[in-house]
């Protein structure tokens, strides 16, 4: 990467960030609607139906309502930490979208350590959840935050092992070169060579993004609402947006690493990238409304006893094959 920073490249990054913010905002609305519709269809009911045709304005109504709600800070909460947490949860996520190659021409910032950048800044989310739980001075919030940290730290390791296997195989951390080495046909994608890594990545991504069946940090049956118990209005909305943005990032990285990114049969391009990302997102919603929430010991046992050893074995096998 060029060490000199020109005005053009800064402008490029700023424009990309604005584009990403719009993308994340619109996707938040879309995914909230999709999630509720998917939940409805899985439970054999129509889901949101009356607010706008087929209920498409439901998410807009929700968003405006959240903006119009009173913001409440508990008396003994730490004001700085309390208000910093939702901001810190949402804004670093925008940065994660920068190195994602939507298509050869549509990349925010084609940096050669893109994968590392994403993995490093994804850690900010945990910090924000911890601050939220700690700063709100609420026992449920604190318990939820403790769970979020334990879970995130645990699931980061198999996630890294799965990513590392691909990095070994490709010999690069640049997302666009990882896509470039894969072919257009499904059997030329990395998932054909690394199915185990794909599985480990997908499960760990569910754990990282706190999605059901691993949504223990906000398990309402035991923790009210977990780390965001005390957040009302847009404070809660920011956490919600950040969760969906994190889901998109996780699915995008999965698409880039394993599913050939913007490459696909017939015609390569951003549509293939988006189609794969949304397919993965729908799969995540499908998991959420199909599986019951796991217990915390089950969650950690699955990680330490299965995903971690399998990840290590997979990495060793990859290294061995690459050496041959």
């Amino acid at each position: 990467m060029n060490a000199t920073i020109s005005f053009d490249s800064v402008l490029h990054v700023v424009l990309a960030l604005v584009g990403v913010a719009v993308f994340v905002g619109l996707n938040g609305l879309l995914l909230v609607y999709a999630e509720r519709k998917v939940a409805g269809f899985i439970q054999r009911r129509p889901g949101p139906y009356e607010v706008g045709p087929q209920g498409i304005l439901q998410a807009v109504a929700d968003a405006l309502k959240l903006i119009g709600k009173q913001l409440v800070r508990p008396d003994r909460a730490d004001p700085l930490l309390f208000w910093m947490a939702p901001v810190l949860a949402f804004f670093p996520v925008l940065l994660l979208f920068l190195p994602l190659p939507f298509s050869p021409l549509l990349t925010g910032w084609d940096v050669n350590l893109g994968l590392l950048l994403i993995l490093a800044f994804a850690g900010f989310n945990v910090l924000a959840l911890l601050l939220a739980g700690w700063g709100s001075n609420n026992k449920y919030g604190l318990l939820g935050a403790a769970r979020a940290v334990a879970q995130s730290v645990a699931y980061e390791i198999p996630l890294l092992l799965a990513v590392l296997a691909i990095a070994f195989q490709e010999g690069t951390l640049s997302l666009s070169s990882i896509v470039a080495t894969q072919g257009s046909m499904p059997w030329q994608w990395n998932i054909a060579v690394q199915p185990l890594a794909f599985l480990i990545f997908l499960i760990s991504a569910l754990g990282e993004t706190n999605r059901a069946p691993f949504d223990l940090p906000e398990a309402e049956s035991e923790l009210t609402a977990g780390f965001h118990t005390e957040y009302s209005g847009m404070g809660f909305g920011m956490f919600f947006l950040a969760e969906y943005a994190n889901m998109i990032v996780a699915c995008s990285v999965c698409t880039v690493l394993f599913l050939g990114g913007w490459k696909g049969p017939f015609l390569d391009g951003a549509w293939w990238f988006l189609a794969k990302v949304y397919a993965l997102l729908l799969a995540m919603m499908w998991f959420r409304w199909t599986f019951p929430r796991v217990r915390f010991d089950q969650l950690l046992n699955l990680n330490w006893r299965w995903l971690l050893p399998l990840g290590v074995l997979n990495l060793l096998a990859t290294a061995f094959v690459m050496k041959l």
Binding site: E220, T224, T229, E230, Y231
Partner: protein, 187 residues
Amino acid sequence: MAAQDCPVRPPVIAPATGGVDAPIVNVAPVQKILDVCRAMSLWPMTFGLACCAIEMMAVGMARFDISRFGAEVFRPSPRQSDLMIVAGTVTRKMAPALVRLYEQMPAPRYVMALGNCAISGGPFNFEGQYAIVEGVDNLVPVDVYVPGCPPRPEALLEGLFQIQHKITGRRWWPVPAEISGSMGGGA
């Protein structure tokens, strides 16, 4: 001390208080749009007190499906909910908790008294009873009363429509032509 000369019941628990911020942008058209959005996205609190809560659960299920009107997001935390459905008997023991939950809800907040117990004490309202709050409106301001013991899920939906009417000033959904007592097989 015999039951009949039990002294006057202890005073009803102090009713809810709570500050409400003035709106930052207080322009009529903005408030109007916000009101419509509020009416269309009334997230209820997961707060079932007695048997009426079973009907509240039924209204979220496939047959009645409150999600059609955007109100299926039962939030566990009062901070994120707009509508408190008082579904069931409010005992004196529960009263402080109920008041606290109401005070924890951020404005604008709405309360629906679901069932006879929440409205007036219902079947527990008799001479010399000492355990029941006779009507949740002694504790918190109630927007809509839904009578029944328990009310049917349709009644809860109608209560939701009444709150939407109260917020926006107009009826949004058609009024059923005939409300019959028997459900029959179809519907």
